[in-house]
Symmetry: C2
């Protein structure tokens, strides 16, 4: 459900192929939703079957044929309805915190490695997000909202680093 609406939202910006969508899930919307191509192609077929999108085969001038998907009027209505509906409840599943929770069974070295890995991963992602932020501008309301979602990710990554400092300080002693 959420995936199909995000795809509709992206198609509302411009007609796209499954491949184009995949690139969006790897970049612009990747900080709050990911999807792999098997999922994307399946969902696109579904949207077409439901009449929320339509396909047009564009002969590849110098590449394979593109299956361009375009949002329909019904699709725009479905998108608007979803935007105004109550957000699905979010599940937070964190394999790292699961390890920390049972971390008493781990020796000091293992625990330090666990935190070090988390710190490295968090830093790397923060750097990625900050690069994305730098190359964006808040021209209109839509752009400001899209930037706000990125800022949300950045804020949480910084919080994670601060938490790591606190916990490692406590453990280190």
């Amino acid at each position: 459900m959420v995936l199909s609406r995000i795809i509709l939202g992206l198609l509302a910006l411009a007609p796209m192929t499954g491949y184009d969508l995949k690139r969006h899930f790897d970049s612009t919307v990747g900080h709050f939703w990911t999807a792999d191509k098997a999922q994307i192609y399946r969902t696109l077929a579904q949207l077409v079957a439901e009449g929320l999108a339509e396909v047009e085969t564009v002969a590849g001038s110098r590449a394979p044929d593109r299956q361009e998907h375009r949002i329909t009027a019904a699709g725009r209505a479905a998108l608007a309805a979803w935007l105004a509906s109550e957000p699905e409840r979010q599940v937070d599943r964190d394999p790292f915190l699961a390890r920390v929770f049972f971390g008493a069974d781990l020796d000091d070295g293992g625990l330090r490695l666990l935190f070090a890995q988390r710190r490295a991963a968090t830093r790397a992602q923060l750097a990625r997000f900050e690069r994305m932020r730098a190359g964006a501008e808040a021209s209109d309301r839509g752009a400001r909202l899209r930037l706000a979602t990125l800022d949300n990710g950045i804020a949480h990554l910084r919080t994670e680093l601060a938490w790591l400092d606190a916990v490692e300080g406590e453990i280190g002693e």
Copy 2:
């Protein structure tokens, strides 16, 4: 995989029924992992089939029979191996942020409602976590680590509220 190891971790603390485990997923470990009973019973059966846990039927003195599950030596080894293994990469999927991202198609009232709902949900969860925190003590290393995972949740919820303040301030003007 992660679910089965968390269950092993809980069974390492004490033998339990599926019902007991469900209560843990609703309370102590709920802030980083959730599971419903269908999943729990299925996974318990799997663990027994793999020899990582064993069952003992305890006749109910004043209630239904309990299927007590106990971790085996092989189970402890599997738990230790998982603890020392590299954490599975975490997927962050947030239906709320997805709505904000496409929020330009929403009118001002819709947008304000969206943020208000998020704020209420965040506050409610923060209150729950803080109550849990108050009733806990950091006696030994294990308890400190378990508390740290709760503090992680609290820190992120506070960050979310701060982010909401910032975004709503910007939108409101």
